[in-house]
Amino acid sequence: MSQDEMLRKRILRYLSGEMPSKEARAFEEEMLEDPFLSDAVEGLQQEASLPRLQAELAGVDLALKHKGGRKSRMPYYSIAAVFLLLIGTALVIRLRVQETKEASPLASEQVDPMENEKAVTSEAMPEVSKKTIIKDKSDNPSEEKSIDALDKIVMSEEAISDASSGASNLPIQQKALNKAPERQEELSFQTEELPGKVEDLLINPDVADQLLAWAESIKETPTNISSGKILETAVPEAETKKKTESGVRMPVASSTEATINSSGHYERRLISGLIREGKWKEADQAISRYVKTWPDDKSIYILKSGLELKQGNKTKAIHYLKSLKNTPYEKEAKEFEKKIGG
């Protein structure tokens, strides 16, 4: 408390009559010896109402702050920081809007297997530099438009850290997720342009939680992954099969090394947890990886819908629920559609 604040408090206590006699007498003696204090107290005493006096003094403080500028003058670097923050926010918003506009709906299954192989190969190289990854991508201009610039950086960095650490300390499942082919990740689960509506803003958060709970409660394992052959190379068994059938030979790594204790069920719960924690970007990425790993498992749309709903995108949430048509989840999805549609 400043010198002035303490004195003010004392004067107000004295004027209120709350001060014990001994203290009051000491204060009075002080006043007799200090004409400045004595005059001031005499002046302040003119206002009989203490709350009004306090308000008067607060008004003086405020006026001084405005005049003095001590507390209103903003250092240049503060202004610069605020400015940078604004620019940063604007950039992120712009990128997000762009992403939404350019995205195509759930494209994971349309990815060229050759691309997939290429990506996996480049991932498997021990020293992957940021430069090469970006270059690799830019070699295919036709796909560039769907690549979000921000994601590109983030993911390149992921690749670098993965390569440099050798991913040896990561849990197997996480390792597998990190090794998932990048391009596929970028292309998958991007949404088509959906008209935003005003009611998108009015979301019942309970419905989103119900959706998440539903997704968590689904016990089915999406594909026969319990053998644990998939995750080591991040090439889903289902995909491997498919690609083998189509004549493309996929690199299958030493599956025996992997002791898989995970399942789609576990994965879905993990994603659900991310959504609940508000880690939307991570959740979105995890969903993309899930789709790559188990492209045939539609239950993930429930989580995607929940994720959108949590973020206030009602229309998108309904869109993903609609994707559950002709699946065992169709009936419940329709109920949720109704709930969200209000």
Binding site: S2, Q3, D4, L7, R8, I11, G17, S21, K22, A24, R25, E28, E29, L32, E33, D34, P35, F36, L37, D39, A40, V41, E42, G43, L44, Q46, E47, E56, L57, G59, V60, D61, A63, L64, K67, G68, G69, R70, K71, S72, R73, M74, P75, S78
Partner: protein
């Protein structure tokens, strides 16, 4: 660096006079703000006493504050607090006397303020010793109030309850009684 609204610890620890010296070399107005903020309540109280009106008093505080930026570039008061009291009082008197504007600088003879003169412990002790013998020579109200306040160490409120005087009367009796005693002491060869 001083962020918005965050008081500078180093400045807070500087004496009034050091802040002024620093201001004279740096011309950093924040130093004057820091200085003036230490006395806002007192200055406002003085303005309120002389000008009575709250708005006029507030304006006067702001004007006094602004004057400091200029005045303190040239002047280095020995005791800023006493000096500020005189500046505040003179400003109010000038306001009351308007339009007879006299430049502020000429109005402040340094050291005119009777600040803390009586608070010197030896002088106070001498006065209290003298008080017991001399208080009878004072007019009744003064004698009574001085005795109750200084010798019996009662507060104004207690004196008011005992004597029936108003608080203002008590205050004035004590002030006048004290002044008379001082005069008597000086005449009687007391220090």
């Amino acid at each position: 660096m001083n962020f918005i609204g965050r008081p500078d610890k180093n400045r807070q620890n500087l004496s009034d006079e050091s802040l002024i010296k620093l201001y004279q070399t740096s011309r950093d107005k924040e130093l004057i703000s820091e200085l003036f903020c230490r006395y806002t309540t007192l200055v406002y109280g003085v303005c309120r006493k002389y000008l009575e009106d709250p708005d006029e008093s507030k304006d006067a505080v702001l004007q006094i504050f602004e004057k400091l930026f200029v005045t303190l570039l040239k002047e280095s008061p020995q005791v800023f607090r006493s000096w500020l009291y005189t500046v505040a009082k003179n400003h109010c008197l000038m306001e009351l006397r308007k339009p007879g504007n006299i430049p502020l600088d000429q109005e402040i003879p340094e050291g005119i303020v009777e600040s803390g003169e009586d608070s010197h412990p030896e002088k106070k002790e001498a006065m209290l010793q003298y008080l017991e013998q001399a208080q009878q020579n004072l007019p009744e109200g003064q004698s009574q109030c001085v005795r109750l306040f200084y010798l019996e160490e009662k507060s104004y409120k207690e004196i008011a309850e005992e004597t029936g005087y108003s608080l203002n009367e008590i205050k004035s009796h004590i002030q006048n009684g004290k002044r008379n005693l001082k005069n008597q002491m000086e005449k009687g060869g007391y220090p």
